[in-house]
Structure formats: structure tokens, C-alpha cells
């Protein structure tokens, strides 16, 4: 049986609730969970002022309510599962190293920043800086998976080093900016300046995109590794046309202002 947190009072200002994590709850009773300290603005208050706690922790936490104004849920978590039945605020899953976060609604900015492992799934949209590094940081996401079924905004996968980010819809500008390695797949359209400053890594899109001039065109071909992603994405319930499987991709290499070892693969049709 999962531990259930039901939001009964919307915070007036963002609530910092990094205590909502399987690592923190695993040895606590429900009353102790309710007594966990959260920051409401600059005030320290117990979690129970905003959430009713019920059920029993068995490795899973289920959060019910619109948590768009609640930050840092699942930060630094290493195991277990958090299910959020609604929207969620910024910094969800920050620096998490294991476990799973499932969000049925939308996620705000900074989803899974500097993530090390585990998996985040968003059924709706996500904001800016998905799987990216914090400002001033040279390394972003270093492992795990972030699957967003809807759209994302700018700078997805900024300084990403390892792992997989999948966007079922469109992505904003600067997708994979300064990327070090890893894989970003965008099933919809990408904004401008995709892959700017990327050193290594792969960005795949099922649509054409405007390439920056520091990328050079290599060829069009059928990369067989994409077939593995196709199989995997199908298991995630993402809607991918089968023509993608047998289609060709334009391969662009860059960014030549950096190592020039990155690649952007744009679906070119059958």
C-alpha cells in the first residue's frame, strides 16, 4: 500500500518540499511524515499544514492535487516511486539517482536537473530546462531517462552528459545546447538553434529543423540503432508512425565551434 499525500491547502507562495522522497519517508510513521519541515516562502512549517497523510509507505508515494506551486519533489531520491496525480512544480527529481517519478499532469521548469539515474515520466507538458545543468554547472543530466509525452520549452538537455530524454511533442529553442553526450529524441518539431555548442551526443527529430551554420551535413542514411529506440518508445506508449522505422535520416555533425563530434539526425522521409 502506498503512502498518500493529499493536498488540502494551496500554498500562497512556492513551497519547498524536498522532504517528499522515498529516501526521507522510508522509516517514518505518518505523523512523522506530517511533521516534516518544508519552506513556505521563508517560513518553516510542517508538511501537514498543506497535505493530509494516509496509507502506509511501501516504497511508493502517491500525491494527489495540483502541485504546480510545490518545488523539489523527489529531489535526490535514490529508490522507490512517486506518483503525482496532477501538475508538479519546479525542480522535480533534481539530482535524483534512482527510482521513478510519474506525473500525470504537467511539470514546471527544471524537471530532473542534473539527474544521475532513475526515470521521470510526464504525461503532459514540461517547462524549460528539462534534464539540464544548473546555471554555472558544466554537467547536466548524467544518467537515467526523462520521458515527456507532451511539449517542452527551451534548453532541454542543456550540458547533458549521459542518459535519454524523449519529447513526444515539440521542443523549444536551444534543444541540447552545450550537450556533452547522451540522446535527445523529439517526435515533434524543434525550435531554433538546436545543438548549439554541443560536443558529442545525439539529437533525433522526426521533423526537419533549421540548422545553425556551424553544423555540416554528412549524409542521409538509415541508422539501425534508431530501431532500438523505436521499439522502446512504442513500449512507453508514445505514438510513433511506423514509417519512422524504415525511413532515412539526414545526419548533421557539429558543433564545429566545439569538438564537432555531436550529431543531429532529422527524419527525411521514406
Amino acid at each position: 500500500m502506498a503512502l498518500k499525500l493529499k493536498l488540502h491547502t494551496q500554498p500562497d507562495v512556492p513551497l519547498e518540499a524536498d522532504c517528499i522522497s522515498p529516501d526521507r519517508f522510508q522509516s517514518l510513521s505518518n505523523s512523522e511524515v506530517s511533521a516534516q519541515i518544508v519552506f513556505h516562502g521563508n517560513r518553516q512549517v510542517p508538511l501537514g499544514e498543506f497535505f493530509d497523510c494516509s496509507g502506509e509507505f511501501d516504497g511508493e508515494i502517491v500525491i494527489d492535487g495540483d502541485c504546480n506551486n510545490i518545488k523539489h519533489i523527489g529531489s535526490v531520491m535514490s529508490f522507490g516511486k512517486i506518483t503525482i496525480e496532477g501538475n508538479v512544480g519546479v525542480h522535480t527529481g533534481a539530482v535524483m539517482s534512482g527510482g521513478e517519478i510519474l506525473i500525470s499532469g504537467n511539470a514546471n521548469d527544471w524537471l530532473g536537473p542534473e539527474m544521475l539515474g532513475g526515470k521521470i515520466t510526464v504525461k503532459g507538458d514540461a517547462g524549460h530546462m528539462v534534464g539540464s545543468g544548473y546555471r554555472g554547472s558544466t554537467v547536466g543530466m548524467q544518467g537515467g531517462e526523462i520521458i515527456v509525452h507532451g511539449n517542452v520549452k527551451n534548453e532541454t538537455g542543456h550540458v547533458m552528459r549521459r542518459g535519454l530524454i524523449v519529447v513526444g511533442g515539440n521542443s523549444g529553442d536551444f534543444t541540447g545546447v552545450n550537450m556533452l553526450a547522451g540522446t535527445i529524441i523529439v517526435l515533434g518539431e524543434m525550435g531554433i538553434r538546436t545543438g548549439a555548442g554541443m560536443k558529442r551526443g545525439t539529437i533525433i527529430s522526426l521533423h526537419n529543423a533549421e540548422m545553425i551554420p556551424t553544423f555540416s551535413h554528412s549524409c542521409h542514411y538509415q541508422p539501425s540503432f534508431i530501431r532500438h529506440y523505436y521499439k522502446y518508445l512504442k513500449t512507453l506508449g508514445l505514438n510513433i508512425d511506423e514509417t519512422f522505422l524504415n525511413g532515412t535520416f539526414e545526419r548533421w555533425c557539429g558543433d564545429s565551434i566545439e569538438l564537432n563530434r555531436g550529431e543531429i539526425l532529422l527524419y527525411a522521409g521514406k
Binding site: R200, Y221, P223, S224, F225, H228, K231
Partner: protein
Amino acid sequence: MKIKATEIVDTFAEAFKMVGSRIIITAETKEWAMAAAQSITGFATSVIGCKCEAGIESEIAAEDSPDLRPGVSVLIFAMDAESLGKRLVERIGQCVMTCPSTACYNGLENGSPVTVGGQLRYFGDGNQSSKVMGENKFWRIPVMDGEFLIDDSFNVQESVGGGNILILGKDQKATLKAARAATKAMRALPDIILPFPNGVVRSGSKVGSKYKTLIASTNHAYCPTLRGVVKKSELGDGINSVLEIVIDGLNPEAVEEAMRVGMNAAAKPGIKQISAGNYGGDLGQYHLKLHQILGAA
């Protein structure tokens, strides 16, 4: 014991512990996958002279293959994991990577990993790149038709080599017909291969030779032309041709099942006896008893 008119000799096949691996080769078409599979299983009949034994296990439909393209499953066996690892690198590098449009994947879920793609990647001369999906790591090696995709490591597991049956017939024609029927039936089974040409070997061997440099020589007890010459021929009257089917498998049960199916299929008119090759029982770790195998079924 008899199957129809064919006597099943009360003896056993002496088989050996080996180490085996399954590799899955996929390609743009079934023909290209098969071309690579035939190439990688070439010159791999006996570990004595070829350093490994290999064969095609089965074809794989596109919908069942790792990358949704037509594939072929190949089994390769050697005496130890280190040797098998070297054979995999050599053979995949020379026979699969060279074949247009192919990709190559580990086909065993269990076992110990040996690094294969992780060594072949250097062919990319620094332009190779890796992809990690879940527990799997692939290498993408740039080649002239695009990329060669290969798993970083392949699993190897303890296996069985040298299971066999001997088909003793009245003449070559009848024995060939029985051997073909047996191999056809056995090839439908999983987890085994028949490493010799068309699955059949005519030059069965014994351990040692009168020549000091040879570790194996013709199995004179089963050579019909030597019946009147050698001291102890195993061939009775009316037996003028003997063919052997050697079976390597990923486990003893699979080898025994292949022997059972093979014996039943080979028991045809003109086949006097079905026997098995052994070395007195002192060399091999597995004694696969013909009567027991048929009785168990």
C-alpha cells in the same frame, strides 16, 4: 532396443564441457543476414582444427529480432571463455562487420559477459560512438554503407560439445538419405547446432595416431574398407557405410533431445544400426546413453 528394423546399440556418446555463445545477426534482408551467418560459421566444424565449432541455429523473423529486421541466430562453441571471446572478435570482425547492412547482438540472457563490440569499436579509429539503452550498451562503428551496430559484450555460458550419433547403413545411398532425414529433423530444434557440412561428418576420428604429431586420426573401427584389416572392427555384416552427426548444444538436455529426434528420423530402411562415438568414457564429462535417451522419451 530397436526403432522399426534399426538396432539401437547399447552405448553412449561421450560429450565434453565447452563454452557457448549465441549471436544474432540482422540485416536489411534475410539474404544478407544469412550471408554473414554462413560466413561466420565457415571453417568451424571441429575445435581440434578450427579453434571453435559454429553453426546456424535458426532464422529469426523481423518482428522477433532485436532491431525489427530479418535475422539469423548462430551458436559458437570453444573450450573456454577466453578462447571463445577471441573467436567472437575475430569472426564477427571479419565476417559480420564486413557484410553490408548487418548488425550483431548478444543472444544469451544469462552467462558471463565477454567484451566483443568493445574491442571491435577501435576499427572506428576514434569515430565510433556508444549508445546505452537500459542495461544494453551498443557501439556504432562507421563503415562505408553507414554504421555497424554491435553489442558491447556477449554472454558466454557452459555448454556441451560432441554429442553424436553414428548411422550404420547397408550402403552410402541409404546412409546419406537417413542422415539427411535426421539433420532435417534435428535442425528444427532450439539451442543446438550441427557444425559439420550439412550437419554430417564422414571422417569420424579417434584420439591419437601412429604418427606422433597427430592428436586425432581416422576412426578405423568404423571404416568399412578396413573391416578385414583392423583387429577390432565395430561393423557387422552388411554394414558398408557409416555417417556421424555431431551435436553441440547450450545444455545437455538440448543435445539429448536432438539425439533422440535424430535417431528416430534416421531409423530408415537400409539402416542396420545406430550407435554413438565415445572414447571409453574417460575423456568426456557427459555420457549420453542412447537407450536412456530413447527410454526417457
